[in-house]
């Protein structure tokens, strides 16, 4: 199977995942702290408990994706 297909695109996205996450380290830390707090405090972990923090992380992540793809396409044009 040659050429770009859904599997190769998925694999490519997974491959750059760590790079993208590194760009959003702060948001990730905030989300992580929110979830980790449930393990020590009295608050039980429920669905969407940290939804605000997660949305912030996801937005940062999506922006990072578009930045990287923009940089990649710019590089290709050169």
């Amino acid at each position: 199977m040659s050429g770009s297909n859904v599997w190769s695109r998925t694999r490519e996205r997974l491959r750059i995942f760590p790079e993208l996450l590194a760009q959003c380290a702060d948001e990730a830390a905030v989300y992580g702290k929110c979830v980790a707090a449930t393990t020590t405090g009295k608050q039980e972990l429920k669905k969407d408990l940290c939804v605000k923090e997660f949305e912030a992380l996801k937005t940062c992540f999506t922006n990072a994706v578009s930045t990287i793809s923009k940089n990649r396409s710019l590089r290709c044009d050169m």
Partner: protein, 325 residues
């Protein structure tokens, strides 16, 4: 596009978590506890063996193999014939020499994984671990270096000669607890519940019972912890996939949502991350040594036959050296 190719590509696209195409996998009803899909595991191993740079994932197996080989050396005997189950690239045999093991039979589930020659004369056989095709009382030493799947101890006992020894290593209860907890928390927060992504491991307390129940005597079980540091959660999962240890339990969920993966990576880094940004992954390795019963082995003496009292312990100035060496 044929279905087989599609299934392999689907498996590849989700690092560390494998997908189940249920219609092609039939459950086997034999066996006491059918937890794992062995066909799936075999396919995972074959795929890994076909990787060009597969050797970079061998670090854990090499480390465990060298520690098992240490234990073989500790037994002051020469073994004419040894069996290495699931040996693959002979991570144990490469640390042994001809004085200790005179000849070796190396087995593995997948053909490609098999047979790296060492100084010991070796015969390589493709064998399903649950159906060893050897006669009873064949081997002097059976060693076993399998990461995750359950043991078929009764079988291992039967192929051993009386007074033969079984040395094994497997991963135990606390392995990858960081990954398990991160996935659990993230999945609970994102999806409201969680499913098992890490297969169940044997606890060290159960191991003694398992070995004793199978008929081994003079058991020794000890635990070792190997901690490996990775840049992040995705690298942990990629390496697990590269080692051929993707999930193959029947009750595994087919997919891991992108959001959950992102959330879990964030939680992993926050809860377990090191100062320099790397994250640790713990592998708890259980080592076990068991002997096939034989008259020459020391047995517990009859009750009431004691000649000294425990009260005299304080009077002993040097420890006495009892038991087999």
């Amino acid at each position: 596009m044929n279905w087989k190719r599609l299934s392999i590509l689907t498996l590849r696209s989700l690092s560390g978590i494998s997908q189940n195409l249920g219609s092609f996998c039939t459950r086997r009803n034999g066996g006491a506890m059918n937890v794992f899909n062995r066909d799936m595991k075999k396919r995972q191993k074959q795929r890994v063996a076909a990787l060009k740079d597969g050797h970079q994932y061998d670090y854990l197996r090499n480390e465990v193999g060298s520690r098992v080989a240490d234990r073989v050396y500790d037994i002051a005997r020469t073994f004419p014939l040894a069996l290495d189950i699931g040996g693959g690239k002979s991570h144990i045999a490469e640390h042994l020499n001809k004085d200790v093991v005179q000849s070796l039979v190396l087995t593995d589930v997948s053909q490609q994984n098999l047979c790296r020659q060492t100084e010991i004369p070796t015969r390589c056989v493709v064998v399903d671990e649950e159906f060893l095709p050897f006669k009873e009382n064949t081997f002097d030493l059976v060693h076993f270096n399998r990461s995750i799947l359950r043991l078929t101890l009764g079988l291992h006992l039967s192929v051993l000669k009386p007074d033969g020894v079984f040395i094994g290593a497997m991963v135990g209860g606390e392995t990858l607890y960081e990954l398990r907890c991160s996935l659990q928390l993230a999945e609970s927060e994102r999806e409201g519940g969680f499913s098992a992504h890490i297969s169940p491991f044997t606890a060290v307390t159960d191991l003694g019972n398992l070995l004793g129940g199978a008929g081994f005597s003079m058991l020794t079980v000890d635990v070792d912890e190997v901690q490996v540091h990775y840049p992040g959660m995705m690298e942990v999962m990629t390496d697990l996939q590269g080692m051929g240890e993707s999930n193959c339990a029947w009750n595994r969920r087919s997919l891991l949502h992108r959001d959950t993966m992102l959330a879990a990576a964030a939680v992993y880094r926050e809860m377990y991350g090191n100062q320099d940004g790397s994250v640790p992954a713990t592998f708890e390795i259980l080592y076990m040594i068991g002997w096939k019963p034989h008259e020459s082995q020391a047995k517990p003496v009859k009750r009431g036959s004691a000649t000294v009292s425990f009260g005299d312990l304080s009077k002993i100035s040097r420890p006495t050296n009892a038991g087999r060496s």
